[in-house]
Amino acid sequence: MIRPILHRVAQAVLVALMVGVLTFALMRSLPGDMAWRVAAGRYGYDITDAAVMEQVRHSLALDQPAALALLSWFGDLLRLDLGVSLISELPVVDEIAHQLGASVTLALTALLLSVLIGPPLGVLAGLRPGGGLDRALFALSITLRALPQFVIGLLLIYGLAIVFGLLPASGHGEAGHVVLPALTLAIGLAAVSSRVARDATVAVTSSGYYRFGETKGLRPLENFLRHGLRNIAVPIVTYLGVQLVYLIEGVVVVETLFAWPGIGHALVHAILARDVPMIQGTALVMGLMFVLLNAGVDVVCGGLDPRRRAS
């Protein structure tokens, strides 16, 4: 039990190191004078001019050597201090908590909705491969996967918000606001997770142990619950775990469409404005989340499938 934990801790440290160095190096190699970008990011195009830029350059101590700046970032990191955003001059931790928090809320809601839609349908289709439901689901899944996310989003907005007025179209702040963007993401996810579930179901039900369960006289439902469900769940959990990470960073399109504050949007702006602390902080937190999530998937899969714990 110790080894996997050590492994994950080592991975986390590695991720922190690499994220720090890589984002720092990339940011420094971006073209254009950083002071201009920061001044522009802070004051916008109506106020920014050469005088404002000089003032910003002075206050930021941008002439400090790059190696020193990187070292001091790692130093602050050891004290769990992510620094202050160059643009808003607010602590990076607070900004990430607000914006990444919003993305995570959205991604988790989407994941939950997709679990309710995708896998149950997939399992039903997988129990009778080649049947009507299986074929219909395959066609639906391949169609939905080929539709860009924002097209699904727009269709939902027009259908549910404008024509029927059931849900708020976009915005952030009330509980209802999360439904449409989450549903948009969930539909895309369910299109894939239903196929994963279907394939897993086919594999399990055609396996020897499952057939044996049938021959030894278990009723179909009993056999499915006792021998099928657990085995089907493993690939689904693995798939969803990986997807959650992609989801958190991949929601930028949906965020823009639904006016949902989120980390994708924040990243685009931070890079434009050369907000180095914000970018490093975000990359670090997201990298660590990935490690944590993989550890979580390991634990859940181990719980579902005791054979994995042994190996």
Binding site: V19, M27, R145, L147, G287
Partner: protein, 262 residues
């Protein structure tokens, strides 16, 4: 090799049709896809403009053809780049095992942990308006999938008696790769490649949607959608075109992948 299914044939046919359209249009219809004519804005399909015009009076048929060439070009290049790197390293890791395997897996894991979006955004910011950051960024995200699939297969193959026998008989690594690894890896590579291309088409369109990546007036499918979106009520048939093209492209690639899941 496994015989292609009907779905896969359909996918290949669809993709060929799209490519034919993209390459054939400039031969048949002369003109510049960025040429504006504000007095001809948003003309419906038909007449002098077979597929109508966009809000700046640019010919949609030329723009769509150029955009497909761009999307397919990026998809092919990134998939090829990611495929070569991913397969090579995957075989290396699987066949060598030991510390080589551990080191490569470590690199792949850490790269996976880096937010892909951040990577692409940073690269694009280094050289705004150019294509190479897009190729590199998308490839960097895609190669890991190749690596993991090939490595898993290579591990299995390396342990097989046939490879053992080849090695004992003194056959070199090139022979072993061609004789034992590639026949098994080829279908996997094809599947991952088709998925990867689909991902690439979608990613570039999504980046265009948030105004990152290809710069206007270069025709790009995501950007065309976002430019035309305000006119959904006035010119729905024009807006539908880039959406339909992305749909068909991704559909074709998914069909080629055999409708399997990743």
């Amino acid at each position: 090799m496994i015989r292609p299914s009907r779905g896969q044939w359909a996918g290949v046919a669809l993709l060929l049709l799209l490519a034919l359209f993209a390459l054939g249009v400039p031969q048949l219809i002369p003109g510049d896809p960025t040429r504006q004519s504000l007095s001809n804005a948003l003309l419906p399909p038909g007449g002098p403009f077979p597929l109508g015009t966009d809000a700046f009076g640019r010919d949609m048929v030329l723009r769509l053809a150029a955009a497909i060439r761009l999307s397919l070009g990026i998809a092919l290049l990134t998939t090829a780049l990611a495929g070569v790197i991913g397969v090579a390293l995957g075989v290396l890791a699987g066949a060598c095992g030991g510390w080589v395997d551990r080191a490569l897996c470590g690199v792949a894991d850490t790269l996976l942990a880096l937010p892909g979006l951040l990577l692409v955004l940073l690269l694009v910011a280094i050289a705004p308006g150019q294509f190479w950051p897009l190729y590199l960024g998308v490839s960097l995200v895609l190669w890991v999938e190749y690596f993991r699939m090939t490595r898993a297969a290579a591990l299995r193959i390396a342990a097989s008696p046939a490879v053992e026998a080849s090695r004992l008989l003194g056959f070199g690594p090139v022979y072993r790769f061609r004789r034992h690894y590639w026949p098994e890896l080829a279908p996997i590579t094809l599947t991952v490649g088709a998925f990867g291309s689909a991902t690439s088409v979608m990613s570039v369109a999504a980046l265009g949607f948030v105004n990152v990546g290809v710069r206007p007036p270069t025709p790009e499918l995501g950007q065309m959608m976002i430019e035309l979106m305000p006119y959904y009520n006035e010119a729905p048939l024009i807006l539908a075109q880039p959406i339909l093209v992305v749909f068909l492209l991704v559909l074709a690639l998914n069909l080629i992948a055999g409708g399997k899941t990743q």
